[in-house]
C-alpha cells in the first residue's frame, strides 16, 4: 500500500480531528472531576512542606 497525499489528508481531517478532540475532552474531564480536586490541592501544598526526609514506614 502506498501512502498517498489524499489518504493522509483524509486521515488528518477525520481520525486526527476526533482523536485530538477526544484527548482534549478526556483531559478536561480529568482536570475538573470533583473527586480530583482534593488531591490536586494537596499536591500543590505538599511541596511546600519543609520535612526534607524520605518517608519510611
Amino acid at each position: 500500500m502506498t501512502i498517498t497525499h489524499d489518504l493522509l489528508v483524509w486521515l488528518s481531517k477525520s481520525f486526527g480531528l476526533f482523536y485530538l478532540i477526544g484527548l482534549s475532552l478526556i483531559v478536561l474531564v480529568y482536570t475538573y472531576w470533583p473527586a480530583n480536586q482534593k488531591p490536586f490541592k494537596q499536591a500543590a501544598r505538599a511541596i511546600l512542606d519543609d520535612d526534607d526526609k524520605p518517608y519510611r514506614g
Binding site: 497525499h5 489528508v9 483531559v27 505538599a46 511541596i47 526534607d52 526526609k53 524520605p54 518517608y55
Partner: protein, 551 residues
C-alpha cells in the same frame, strides 16, 4: 562517591567500566586513522580512570544503613557543578563564534577554529551540557522530594550523569575534529547516539523506579513535565538518528532518510527538542522551584495540568513550520503553522500561572534576586512563545526565515527563559543541598541577575534589528524588478549588530562566570563550616561533593 556505593554496587560499577573499557579499546583498534579511533581512546581513558577510582574506594566501609533516612543528593550536587562548568564553556564558545561572525578572519587558519566546527560546540555545550545536566540534577532532586522517596539505588544516578557527560565530551571533541551528521542539535555520530540511548533509557527507568517507591498518592505535576522530557527526547533521538555507518571502523554514517523526508524528520526532531528538552523539562523545574522559593503553592494546579497536555499534544505537530516555502507539501506546512498558533494557548497558560503564583509575593521578587531570575524567566517564556507562534505564520516567516530574527527568537527563549529559570533553580538549591543559610554572596547573585538581563536584552534587540533589516533588504526590488541589494550588502549592514550581539553575549557569559564563582565559594565555605563543626569529619564523611569540582 565510591564510598557511598554498596559492595554490590561497587562490583557492578567495575563490570560496567570494564565493558566500557573493552568497547573503547575496540573502537580505538577498529577506528585507527579515523576520528572514531580518537574517541575510542577517549572512552578507554575515561573507563580506566573510573576503574582506578572504584578500586581506590573499593575497600572503604559500606555506607551506613541510616543513609536511607535522607535523600540521595550527591548526584544532584555533581550535576549542578557540571552544569555550571558547561555553562561557562558553552557560553564562552558562543561568544567566540559571535565575534567570529563580526570578524571572520579570527580563525587562525585552523580547521578546528572555523565557525562550522565551533558553533555546535556552543549549541551542544549550552543545550546538552548546561541545560541537560541542570535538568538531570534538578529532576533527581524534585523526583525524590515530591515522591518522599529516596532514589532506589546509588549506582544508577551516577551511571546516568557520568554517562551523559561522556556523551557531551565525545560530542564536543568530535565537532572540533569535523565529526558531524550535519543535523542541527543532532550532530553527534552513530556511536555517540547509541551510547546516549543506553544512558537515556536508564534515566527513564530510574525515574519510573523512584516514582514507583513514592509515598504521595498523587504524582506532582513537575514530574509529568520531567517525564515528558525524558520520554519524548528518547523517541526523537532514536528516530532522527537512524543511520547506517560506512563501516564499524568509521565515524561517518548515512541517514536512513533523504530529501524532504530527511528535512521533515530533522525538524520534527529539532522543534520537539525545543519543546521537550528546552521547554517541558524546564517547566517541570519552574513548577517546583518557583512555588517553593516564593513560599506559595502554584496559582492553579488545574491550569498546570491543562497546559501540560496542551503542550504535549500541540508541540508534536509544529516542526514543519521550519520548512515553509520548501519542497514540503503545502498542507504539512499549514498543519505546522496552525498547531504553532494554537500552541500559544497552553504556553501562555503556563506563563500566566507562574506570574499569578507570584501575585501577592512581589515584595519577595523585589528583594530576592533568585526569585527574580524565575520571574523574568516566566516573562521571557511568555514573550518568546508569542514570538514563536507569530513567526510560524507563513507570511511572517517569509520575512523572518533565514534571517537573524530566528537567532534573536531562539536566544530570547534560551537566555531569557531557559538559562534564567535554571540559574534561579540552581541558586535556590545550592544552599539547600550544601546546608547553608544562603549563597556566599547575595550581591554577586544580584550582579549576575543584572548582567544576565542586560546581556539578553542587548543580544535580542541586536538580532531583532539585524534580522528585520536583513529580511527587508532581501526582498527589496528596484524599478527594473531585480533585487536592490546583493547578499554582501546585507552582510555589511549586519556588522554593527554582530558586534552588539557579541557584547551582549559577553555580559551574559560574565554573569555565568560570577555565578560559578559564587556557587564555588558557597560550597567551599560550607565544607569549612562543616569541618570545624565535626573534628572527625574526614574520617566519617569522605567529603565527595566538595572535592568533585577540583577533579
Amino acid at each position: 562517591m565510591v564510598a557511598e556505593l554498596t559492595k554490590n554496587e561497587r562490583q557492578a560499577a567495575l563490570i560496567i567500566l570494564l565493558a566500557l573499557a573493552v568497547t573503547g579499546l575496540a573502537m580505538a583498534a577498529g577506528g585507527r586513522g579515523d576520528p572514531l579511533g580518537v574517541h575510542g581512546a577517549l572512552v578507554l581513558v575515561a573507563a580506566i580512570g573510573g576503574i582506578f577510582a572504584v578500586i581506590g574506594g573499593y575497600y572503604a566501609p559500606e555506607p551506613p544503613a541510616d543513609r536511607l533516612d535522607s535523600y540521595y543528593d550527591s548526584p544532584t550536587k555533581f550535576g549542578i557543578i557540571a552544569a555550571m562548568v558547561w555553562a561557562v564553556i558553552g557560553m564562552a564558545v558562543g561568544d567566540w563564534v559571535a565575534w567570529l561572525l563580526a570578524y571572520p578572519e579570527w580563525t587562525f587558519d585552523a580547521a578546528w577554529a572555523s565557525f562550522g566546527r565551533l558553533r555546535p560546540v556552543h549549541t551542544s555545550g549550552v543545550i546538552f551540557g548546561f541545560g541537560g545536566n541542570a535538568l538531570i540534577a534538578t529532576s533527581f532532586y524534585v523526583m525524590q522530594r515530591t515522591s518522599r522517596a529516596r532514589l532506589p539505588d546509588q549506582l544508577t544516578p551516577w551511571f546516568v550523569l557520568l554517562g551523559y557527560n561522556l556523551f557531551c565530551v565525545v560530542a564536543a571533541t568530535g565537532y572540533l575534529m569535523g565529526v558531524t551528521q550535519s543535523k542541527e542539535y543532532a550532530e553527534p555520530e552513530w556511536y555517540a547516539d547509541i551510547w546516549l540511548v543506553i544512558v537515556w533509557v536508564t534515566y527513564f527507568v530510574l525515574y519510573l523506579r523512584t516514582l514507583n517507591r513514592r509515598k504521595e498518592p498523587h504524582i506532582y505535576v513537575s514530574n509529568w513535565y520531567y517525564m515528558a522530557f525524558v520520554l519524548v527526547v528518547a523517541m526523537l533521538h532514536i528516530v532522527n538518528n537512524l543511520a547506517v555507518p560506512v563501516s564499524w571502523g568509521e565515524a561517518k554514517s548515512y541517514s536512513l532518510f533523504s530529501g524532504v523526508q530527511d528535512a521533515m524528520t530533522q525538524w520534527w526532531y529539532g522543534h520537539n527538542a525545543v519543546a521537550f528538552f528546552l521547554t517541558s523539562g524546564f517547566l517541570g523545574m519552574m513548577y517546583y522551584y518557583m512555588p517553593k522559593r516564593a513560599g506559595r503553592p502554584i496559582y492553579s494546579y488545574r491550569m498546570s495540568i491543562i497546559s501540560f497536555w496542551g503542550i504535549t499534544f500541540f508541540y508534536m505537530w509544529v516542526g514543519s513550520h521550519h520548512l515553509h516555502y520548501t519542497a514540503l507539501p503545502q498542507w504539512v506546512q499549514s498543519l505546522g503553522m496552525t498547531f504553532s498558533v494554537m500552541l500559544l494557548v497552553p504556553s501562555w497558560v503556563s506563563a500566566g500561572n507562574a506570574l499569578m503564583t507570584l501575585n501577592g509575593a512581589w515584595h519577595k521578587v523585589r528583594d530576592d534576586a533568585v526569585l527574580r531570575f524565575m520571574m523574568v524567566a516566566a516573562v521571557f517564556y511568555g514573550l518568546s512563545t508569542f514570538e514563536g507562534s507569530f513567526m510560524a505564520i507563513r507570511p511572517v516567516n517569509a520575512l523572518s526565515h533565514y534571517t537573524d530574527w530566528t537567532i534573536g527568537h531562539v536566544h530570547a527563549g534560551v537566555l531569557g527563559w531557559v538559562a534564567m529559570i535554571t540559574f534561579g533553580a540552581i541558586y535556590a538549591s545550592v544552599p539547600w543541598l550544601w546546608k547553608r543559610d544562603g549563597m556566599y554572596s547575595a550581591k554577586l547573585v544580584e550582579a549576575h541577575f543584572w548582567l544576565a538581563l542586560a546581556g539578553t536584552i542587548i543580544y535580542v534587540f541586536a538580532m531583532w534589528n539585524s534580522g528585520i533589516i536583513q529580511g527587508l533588504m532581501w526582498r527589496t526590488y528596484n524599478e527594473s524588478g531585480t533585487l536592490a541589494y546583493s547578499f554582501v550588502d546585507s552582510l555589511v549592514a549586519m556588522h554593527p549588530y554582530y558586534i552588539a550581539r557579541a557584547v551582549g553575549g559577553a555580559f551574559f557569559l560574565l554573569g555565568a562566570i560570577i555565578g560559578f564563582y559564587n556557587i564555588w565559594m558557597t560550597i567551599r565555605t560550607a565544607a569549612q563550616a562543616q569541618a570545624q563543626a565535626s573534628p572527625d569529619y574526614s574520617v566519617v564523611g569522605v567529603d565527595i561533593p566538595a572535592v568533585q569540582p577540583g577533579e
